[in-house]
Amino acid sequence: MAAIERDPVTGRLTTGHDWNGIAELDTPIPKVVIFFLVVTFLFSLVWWILMPAWPLITTYTRGALGIDQRTEVEESIEAANAARSIWLSDLAAKDWSQIQADGTLMAKVKETGHRLFGDNCAVCHGASGTGGPGFPDLTDGDWIWGGDPDAIAQTLRVGVNSAAEDTRTSQMPAFGRDGVLDRAQISDVAYYVRSLSDPSLATPETADRIAKGKEVFAANCVSCHGEDARGNVDLGAPNLTDSHWLYGGSASQIVTTIFGGRMGHMPTWEARLAPEEIKMLALYVATMGGETQFTGEQSQ
């Protein structure tokens, strides 16, 4: 082992070890590294005091600042609600027609309603509200349960065939599966129903078939769909005379519907959305069918 020497080039001491004639400088760790190490330790000491940090046996240190993620998120939500409260209180106080007459408020409703629709409704009814097989089109002006904001808000609150106690309920019976109608009757009434929206199907050759179908219709379908087949928004029975079909309007699709029945389902939103959110969505959805919906008339 060599003695500790001073290196003539750097002026530093060696470690005193000697490896086959090679000595090693004993250069200390740079001061700046030590400095930041100390700062880091001091910072953690301060942090331990200010923030929730140390586990004790049955509890933990809460921190001097009393910061808690749960209260933080609640505060940020309250702050956001406070910022919105100016027009939200307006929204809560006014009735449908007053809100619709208020241009600035409606602009807010449409902006927020669009987000709410995207988060909650779009997966079934489509991002633009056009629906799909089994999911109603909200833009066609053809409303199953009524298209004024009040009716839409009620549908949103209780849903259709949902778990809510006062849910809207509608069930089309399975006329074929349950043996109410035989094959020929189903075929005839399906043809008659198609002829309502497609007059080209009513020719002299098919007059007999349509007459038979009409008879079946009168005996089985009018109680919900009405004598004129224009549906009934109180029962959620769709209008059969227009070209909008919830489950498809081809011959085979209509036969399938009559044979197996239909029972759509829309969840209840009362527990998930706040009353003002439902109000905004109702107004937003009402505008999807075109501004004509604001007259407050139901169906069509």
């Binding site: 586990p55 933990y60 933080e72 998120v73 940020s76 909650n120 997966v123 079934c124 799909g132 959305l273």
Partner: protein
């Protein structure tokens, strides 16, 4: 001190033991208190356990790797609470073995998806997501609707979970296959046993639209429809956000 260290590092066994002691301090400080600190987990005596059908759905959820793209954890952030609902609580994962919080969202969070959409939608969406959500990147799972669900061994699954603390009763374990069938067959005689054993809030429904035939689709939809509904703790715990 340098003398002690010199001796220690020349003793192989002693040094290995010393390394184990030092490196486990971090873990002990972070993990051990979780067994003694109870106040971070809320308690809900009314929380119900997964039914056999929901549990089977949960197993399929794991099998198909749903957790890779869907989280089940609503964080304490305003935007998440406003979109998904009240933030997740520890108690809500109490009966999850393993938990399925996930760590990545390619799809949306599913912690409160139960009851948000109809069974019909879930079935259509799982068979082909593009049918209902244009532009979805989720894979299709059409075999779920075709595969009959294996229900004969569900009692064993319940018994295994009871070993790790889920309070399944002997009766639940004995009736597991019948309850799985009953929950997916509202008109069958087995249906009443499900609500008897698991509570009246349990949804009994022909989830895949075909009663009296239990498919994997029934199980997955039953599981999705109960997410966030085993306990009402999150609604009462104070989360201010109404969120949707």
């Amino acid at each position: 001190m340098p003398e002690v260290h010199r001796k220690l590092e020349r003793n192989a066994i002693g040094f290995v033991l010393a390394i184990i002691v030092v490196s486990s301090i971090g873990g002990l400080v972070e993990i051990a208190p979780l067994y003694t600190i109870d106040e971070t987990v809320e308690s809900d005596p009314n929380m119900r356990v997964y039914t056999p059908l929901e549990l089977a759905g949960r197993n399929i959820y794991i099998r198909e790797g749903c957790y890779a793209c869907h989280s089940q954890m609503i964080r304490t952030l305003r935007d998440e609470v406003e979109r998904y609902g009240p933030y997740s609580l520890a108690v809500e994962s109490k009966y999850d073995h393993p938990m399925l919080w996930g760590s990545k969202r390619t799809g949306p969070d599913l912690a409160r998806v139960g009851g948000k959409y109809s069974d019909f939608w879930h079935v259509a969406h799982l068979i082909n997501p593009r049918d209902v959500v244009a532009g979805s990147v989720m894979p299709a799972y059409p075999w779920l609707a075709r595969n009959p669900l294996k229900i004969s061994d569900l009692g064993d699954h319940l018994a295994a979970l009871r070993k790790v603390g889920v309070p399944y009763t002997d009766e639940m374990i004995a009736n597991a296959p019948a309850d799985a069938f009953g929950q997916a067959s509202p008109d069958a005689s087995q249906a009443s046993g499900v609500t008897e054993r698991y509570g009246n809030d349990t949804t009994v429904s022909a989830f895949d639209g075909v009663p009296n035939r239990v498919t994997e689709m029934d199980a997955v939809v039953a599981y999705l429809q109960v997410l966030g509904k085993l306990t009402k703790a999150a609604k009462t715990e104070g989360a201010a956000g109404q969120g949707g």
